[in-house]
Symmetry: C2
Subunit: 429 residues, 2 copies
């Protein structure tokens, strides 16, 4: 296939006719397909149906002696803290266990900083005029919404294949009203990029204008590999250690959860941070709650006692996810290669494929898909304020639908992306 | 027994000698007993050991069709909202389901009001200078700590047998910087009092200086009766209806949980409020979290589908609690009657007995008990800032220890209370 931008007006017209014919065929199918959100499929969820079986013959006692059915142990039972310590490569004393939503832990951490400040803050963040937050883009809409809701101005930073553009980040953080930054370091949402060690080190060591600058390190996909081959399983260094080495021990709050390991929104979540941040956080979490659900922690530990068990479970998830990703990518290859209209990266993990359609056509592409009964995440959702300046990025979430649905939905997507590209090119002729 | 204050110096000396002899006997026993917190006993917790059994043969589908293992349904599955609606006498649309801790819901609600304000606020509460909060006393230390942490000045209001002294409350709330009030309306912590309908109506209809005044109505013990006889099961009217009738529909956030019904800190919690408050709250909870753990909600509903099932469970709890309360009260009767040193109320429900020892001797009594190896909640804990102006109130929590432990601990308490009373009286002689 010839690149569309290299085609003559005649060639474009002819290609367009072919595409319009296919659109008519799609119309006749009365499709109703949903590719919007990164939800596990029912088959994946069924992997954990026996999660609570272990409780039946259990003592309900943590190895610390605590009765998990009663009040107490506000930071989480030691076994759960040990599990996440192993997953994140840190110490169990750096871990606080929450309920099912790591987003909730992020929101609460920012609310604390807003109302009370961090341990090294001059004043609560809510009192800092023109406070700003860095947002590598494209990124996760729910992250952006949290900082938007708390009145931060959201500053975008381009995300490259090895992480955020560090030259730009290092320049922006000189501003003392830039208080922090979102990061999904492993299998970024939606691109599936992985931060390089160099980027991690630069983030850990960069000079910031705000002495209480914080990175919210959402390590949501650290064990979410699509392939069992170790060389395809990407990883990042322990950011807490890097920050400590660089003399910025309090720089990071790291988050993780088992939402896409056991049950979505009903697993365990945690944050990891250094001693000073932890002490400061607990000053307020100890007022907020008697602690997260320990029965759920205990059930998880009986079911999945260590990282080895977790990896086994993730390999089963991958067996469901891999064919869906590969099917999506193969259709995109077949439909789009050579047209030079859409760009994408082949991820080794995570939950998304990120497509960059012809500039200025993302909204139109999603709208056209919708007319044909195929729902995609709204164009722009991966940018702060829903504003993609290039109107180009579309997040494809292949985890939930069946292979048959994916096949049809991605075909529709490719045809619509090509058609809108032609329309855009024709406008400029 | 003659009232101590009526005794001659000689009689007091003789009584004191007897008490000191008993103290020596206690010392020789090397006791190590804990009466500090309102925790369910292991036997009570074991009532719910099968809570998750129902999941095994379940569809994991809410009757709304939602897969409880996946993301979605942020306010809680409809069955859980219906259950709490039945318990609290309100509509399911007024209910939001949280995780295991209702304290967490209270803290979060106050954080929202602090940062964003209420729907009818002129500005966020954090920006209101000299903000104040009413605290009926004695009350629950964790409540007081939440509003203290958020910078409210805590104003005490005497709690009477039928609820807070309403003449005082109605006067205090004229001040527009008084923004709200704690209330445990049924089986108050620690006295076990129950608000009368008249008090509830006055709270609902009183004129407040702050137009966004809120009552935090912690209905923690609404089904926590000690007796099965209906005439001993006290109840309060639906406060949401009363407020609506009085034209103050947004006045109340009501809270409840199953912490002392199923598992402590691992059950379901909820808040109930009117449409405007709910809409305003969800504006922020929808940013905070993808929702509470729905698997836990679903397991609870399979295990305890309605109020009738809950009442059955509570009757089993009462069978464990009743003898402990009755033993405590009978020892207090036997040891203290006639001495006119300690006052208390016999509760029909809840988790506590509240003892008023001779004024100025609560700290000394708790300290003396501690020397003998018997731990009670620190004196003053039931007052804001830990400051009981009469140094008189001591909270006794008989739920957790065994009957044998209670017998010894309460005996120690009574002897210490009498001894410190004599010491106080002698000081004044």
């Amino acid at each position: 296939m010839k690149a569309y931008t290299q085609m003559s007006a005649e060639e474009l017209r002819s290609e367009k006719q072919d595409l319009l014919k296919r659109i008519d065929e799609f119309k006749a199918m009365n499709l109703a397909l949903d590719m919007t959100r990164g939800k596990p499929s029912p088959e994946q969820l069924a992997l954990s149906n026996d999660l609570f079986e272990g409780l039946k013959d259990s003592s309900f006692k943590s190895k610390s002696g605590a009765d998990v059915r009663n009040y107490g142990v506000p930071d989480g039972i030691v076994e759960a803290r040990e599990l996440f310590a192993e997953v994140l490569g840190t110490d169990k004393d750096n871990i606080y266990i929450g309920n099912g939503s790591s987003l909730n832990l992020m929101f609460d951490a920012l609310m604390r900083a807003y109302v009370f400040g961090e341990h090294d803050s001059e004043k609560p963040w809510g009192q800092i005029e023109n406070r700003k937050w860095l947002c590598p883009v494209p990124g996760y809409d729910r992250h952006f919404k949290v900082t938007e809701t708390l009145g931060f101005e959201l500053i975008t930073v381009p995300l490259k294949e090895d992480g955020p553009d560090m030259d730009i980040v290092e320049d922006l953080v000189k501003d003392p009203t830039v208080l922090g930054m979102w990061s999904v370091p492993c299998y970024t949402n939606p691109d599936g990029y992985v931060y390089s060690e160099e980027v991690c080190r630069r983030l850990a060591s960069m000079k910031t204008g705000a002495k209480d600058f914080r990175i919210f390190w959402d390590n949501a996909y650290c064990v979410h590999h699509l392939y069992d081959e170790p060389e395809k399983q990407e990883s990042i260094p322990d950011i807490l250690s890097l920050c400590k080495e660089a003399g910025n021990a309090s720089r990071v709050y790291e988050f993780s959860s088992t939402s896409k390991i056991t049950f979505a929104g009903a697993g365990l979540s945690c944050f990891a941070t250094n001693e000073e941040n932890m002490k400061h956080s607990k000053k307020y979490t100890s007022v907020q709650t008697i602690g997260a659900n320990k029965i759920n922690q205990y059930a998880h530990i009986l079911y999945m006692p260590d990282l080895a068990a977790m990896k086994k479970q993730m390999s089963k998830h991958a067996a469901f996810l891999r064919p869906k990703f590969e099917l999506t990518l193969s259709i995109m290859d077949k439909e789009l290669n050579g047209t030079d209209t859409v760009k994408w990266h082949k991820p080794n993990g995570g939950y998304f494929i990120s497509a960059y359609v012809f500039p200025g056509t993302a909204k139109a592409t999603v709208a056209k898909c919708k007319e044909l009964g195929v729902a995609f995440t709204p164009a722009g959702a991966t940018y702060p304020y829903g504003n993609d300046p290039d109107d180009s990025n579309i997040r494809i979430a292949p985890s939930f639908p069946s292979l048959a649905d994916i096949e049809k939905a991605v075909e529709v997507f490719c045809v619509c992306a090509k058609l809108t590209a032609i329309e855009k090119i024709e406008e400029a002729l």
